[in-house]
Symmetry: C2
Subunit: 261 residues, 2 copies
């Protein structure tokens, strides 16, 4: 299983329009530090699955027929806005799976165009080729699923954003499931530094706790805000060795599953 972070930013991204903080200045000067809407591509040579659709150039990035499916964590604009344009394509339809959110997003359900939109249910596994995705309830301001993504070859990856900590049922599931890699919401710098109590999204402290508790070999921080980037610039060595801030375009392969103990 190959995972590519296509976007690793929170709503507003990095650089943030009009912001002059160090992280935003750095991103303006070097595109490697730009963070676009949070999303990832999962592939195995046979299938490509897009996790979240907030990138607004999906119609330019992908060829017709290239994506086997789009899987949504939730219907906040920064995770679905790219579908507003993509839907008006022609030809082969694209299956889109997401949480059962009757409000959905603007007029997407009324005018789905080439999108075939399906509701998932918590813990109801979705099979796509050799992938099995299990929707996991998260703690967010809108009905949101993380995904436990297994491949028949044994690779296991958990993708958990947007969330602040985890509901007990999801925590229980992950303790048994044991991902080898995990990507988690890390929107905010540590609350004890910022003085802001996290709401709806992890701060660095909550993100690191989630990674450690999962027992994953490797943790990835995603959905990073510009203030998190500023904190990381000043505290580069504060992260555990097995935790890495994700970056737009960064890929990694998961070849084997974490051996259950």
């Amino acid at each position: 299983m190959r995972v590519t972070f296509l976007g690793t930013g929170g709503a507003g991204g990095v650089p943030r329009f009009g912001c002059t903080c160090l992280a935003c200045q750095r991103a303006k000067g070097n595109h490697r530090h730009v963070r676009r809407p949070c999303s990832a591509l999962i592939e195995d040579g046979n299938h490509k699955i897009l996790l979240d659709a907030g990138l607004m150039d999906l119609h330019d990035r992908f060829e017709p027929g290239e994506l086997s499916a789009i899987v949504l964590t939730h219907y906040h604009p920064d995770h679905v806005q790219g579908l507003l344009h993509l839907r008006w394509g022609k030809g082969e339809s694209i299956p889109v799976y997401g949480p059962p959110d009757p409000g959905g997003f603007t007029d997407l359900f009324k005018h789905p165009g080439i999108l075939d939109i399906f509701d998932l249910s918590a813990f109801g596994a979705l099979e796509l080729g050799d992938f099995i995705l299990t929707p996991l309830p998260l703690n967010h301001s809108k009905l949101t699923f993380g995904y436990a993504i297994a491949h028949r070859n044994g690779a296991r990856f958990a993708y958990l954003t947007d969330t602040l900590g985890l509901p007990q049922v999801t925590d229980d599931f992950l303790s048994r499931w044991r991902p080898s890699h995990i990507a988690v919401d890390c929107s905010h710098p540590p609350a004890d530094v910022s003085g802001k109590t996290p709401q709806n999204h992890n701060d660095v402290t909550a993100a690191l706790a989630m990674i450690e508790r999962s027992g994953a070999e490797q943790g990835w921080l995603t959905h990073l805000g510009h203030e998190t980037d500023c904190w990381l610039m000043a505290n580069a060595s504060a992260l555990p060795k097995n935790v890495t801030p994700a970056a737009d375009g960064l890929s990694f392969d998961i070849t084997t599953s974490h051996s259950p103990t």
Copy 2:
């Protein structure tokens, strides 16, 4: 007054994702034929006003403070979707004016971020620097205003999309007002060729009738679909001499008003 068409496409744009028609093939091969979401920039050296916000890279195209205002025709996604990201900027707020549509667009009214959103009313003039914009009711599937845009130097430009024909009150206004340039919705090829009765948007026939009735010296076709482009490719000489299909990036200056007769 300088007018620049930033986008001249209908919903879905040209090329349309997955389409292989002649117009879409041409646009894939030559970026000059690409049509992005319908929008225009009006400027006079002191102020820049953006008409519609469907372009999804507004945060990259404009510097903070560059736009004096954004003026919306209506809250369909292809005319406002770029605000979903832009709103999360920092610093100086951007005034946004649009029709009084309580539903608006997704969570934009609830979380406007740096946008200050104001309702306009039909025929209630909006003054921005030396510009005076008069909202004109249009015929569309959602509450929609066209704009009669006057400059204190006498230049007059009417921007009328999305619409199928005009309500009597707007037609009456334009007959008296006499724009020198007019840009009109031209989403579809002529109905007698396509066999499809136009709905909510002009076909070529309705667009040409609207331009002729306005008495404008110069008419521009905008909000063009790929099927309209195909028709234009085959019927290049079918348009009157004073009517030109707009193109993304095309600019023109209006230096004097049309002399009223």
